[in-house]
């Protein structure tokens, strides 16, 4: 046992729990969101420590990055809606950052009521205590690692997590893509998108950085997708990187959203689920079972599905950030 490592574990865990506590105790929502982003980054560090680099990548890109962007834009939307209602006018244009009436009011939550203190504390302590007891008395087991290891040669890829995600437990991944799609349909069912309530910052710095960052993000995203077959990486991380590039583009020029309108967008968003379903059905017909592949075809099919899934996840994340159906189609 390495004393330094144990010290690192303890400090990291104390930091994670402390940041989570400050986040939930904060009365200022902006502060809570910033602390939540910090929480996500610390979690990524913990995942590296637990030998899960795939999860660390996904946590940093999705858990901290994209969730953080979603939360911040939501706060900005709430602020502009409340300002609209307060000023009694509807549908005022988004606040002009250079204007004299720039909105400064932060969103606040009143401190919690005293009477919920004891029940909540008791409930949380009981649940937490039960969990800890159960975890401490859990019998040692080797898990499924040997099973996965024994079947790696027929999986078509060299990275166990990609093998599990796209071959051994493809059901999970398929249903997960379906859930992502359903979440987007839910958001779209609430109406058309409103403008992102902030104008891009004037000046040449942001466009200049975008011209540098977006091609780099595209190449890096495809690289992470390609690397997933033999190293940490894969469709989800790649989709998150490309989605982040898309969110940057949306933020930089919200007046003309660079999203394909209507049909191409819908095709791209459903590509992952549709292709997965087609390949799965073909497997059923060809006698490998639903979502099964012939061994020789496993690698190209997995790559094909991953490309489609990456496209779908990236587009869906951007669409969820914009929140609402694209303007200009009335179906």
């Amino acid at each position: 046992m390495n004393v330094l490592l144990v010290l690192f574990d303890l400090v990291l865990l104390a930091g994670i729990v402390g940041v989570a506590w400050r986040c939930l105790a904060s009365t200022d929502l902006f502060r809570a969101v910033v602390l939540f982003i910090t929480f996500g980054l610390l979690l990524a560090l913990a995942w590296v420590r637990l030998e899960a680099p795939d999860i660390a990548l996904a946590e940093a890109a999705i858990g901290a990055g994209i969730t953080g962007a979603l939360l911040l834009v939501t706060l900005e939307r709430l602020r502009s809606i409340m300002a609209e209602r307060r000023s009694g006018r509807r549908h005022t244009p988004p606040p002009d950052p250079t204007g004299p009436h720039a909105l400064l009011r932060a969103l606040h939550d009143p401190p919690p009521e005293r009477r919920t203190f004891l029940p909540a504390l008791t409930f949380a302590l009981v649940v937490g205590g039960l969990l800890v007891t159960a975890l401490w008395h859990q019998p040692q087991s080797v898990g499924l690692e040997p099973v996965v290891d024994a079947h790696m040669d027929i999986s078509g890829v060299d990275h166990p997590i990609t093998a599990v995600l796209l071959n051994f437990r493809a059901y999970d991944t398929f249903l997960e893509l379906a859930i992502v799609l359903i979440a987007l349909l839910g958001a779209w069912s609430l109406g058309r998108h409103d403008l992102i309530p902030a104008r891009p910052a004037p000046g040449p710095i942001l466009p200049g950085t975008l011209r540098l960052l977006v091609p780099v993000a595209v190449v890096t995203g495809v690289y992470v997708l390609w690397a997933g077959s033999h190293a940490p990486g894969g469709a989800f991380q790649a989709g998150a990187i490309l989605g982040a590039a898309g969110i940057l583009l949306v933020l930089a020029r919200p007046r003309q959203l660079p999203m394909a309108p209507g049909t191409p967008l819908r095709l791209g968003i459903t590509a992952g689920v549709v292709l997965f379903l087609l390949v799965g059905t073909y497997g059923l017909v060809a006698g490998h079972g639903f979502l099964g592949y012939a061994d020789a075809w496993a690698y190209p099919l997995i790559i094909l599905i991953e490309v489609a899934a990456t496209l779908s996840i990236a587009l869906t994340l951007v669409a969820l950030f914009v929140a609402g159906r694209p303007a200009g189609d009335d179906t």
Partner: protein, 142 residues
């Protein structure tokens, strides 16, 4: 004495330390979920609970000798993506609720039947039709 040292070493191994931390995060998120009123904070609390679950999963997966369990890691990866979509949908609902009612705070207590109810049906109609018109107009001019 030796037994005590062994117990301490056993307890401080990452396979037990991190699941314990995950359980604490879960309980903390639960506490925040009950105590806070603003819906965005409640969504944050739910996310923290979810992260606690991920930490338990990954910590248990890292137990023992050899490589960690890839199935648990793959499930966590799936979970993170599901969590972000659910969060995005929940946030869209909060924005919609705020547009309809003017606030996003869920106050505890039994529903007050005598309280004046804002007629949201008309507003919903407005809120749905208004921005669409204006944004379509802007698109045309752009």
């Amino acid at each position: 004495m030796n037994g005590l040292a062994e117990t301490v070493a056993h307890t401080l191994a990452p396979g037990l330390l991190y699941p314990t931390g995950g359980a604490i995060l879960f309980a903390l998120g639960l506490y925040g979920l009950i105590r806070r009123h603003h819906l965005v904070l409640r969504i944050l609390a739910l996310n923290i609970m979810g992260s606690g679950v991920f930490m338990v999963l990954l910590g248990v997966a890292a137990r023992g000798e050899g490589a960690p369990d890839p199935v648990a890691q793959a499930l966590t990866l799936t979970g993170i993506v599901v969590a972000v979509s659910a969060t995005a949908f929940a946030l869209a609902l909060v924005v919609h609720l705020t547009r309809l009612t003017g606030h996003a705070v869920m106050l505890p207590g039994p529903p007050d039947d005598d309280a004046p109810v804002e007629d949201i049906s008309r507003e919903a109609h407005h809120a749905d039709g208004g921005p669409a018109e204006s944004s379509a107009g802007e698109d045309r001019s752009a």
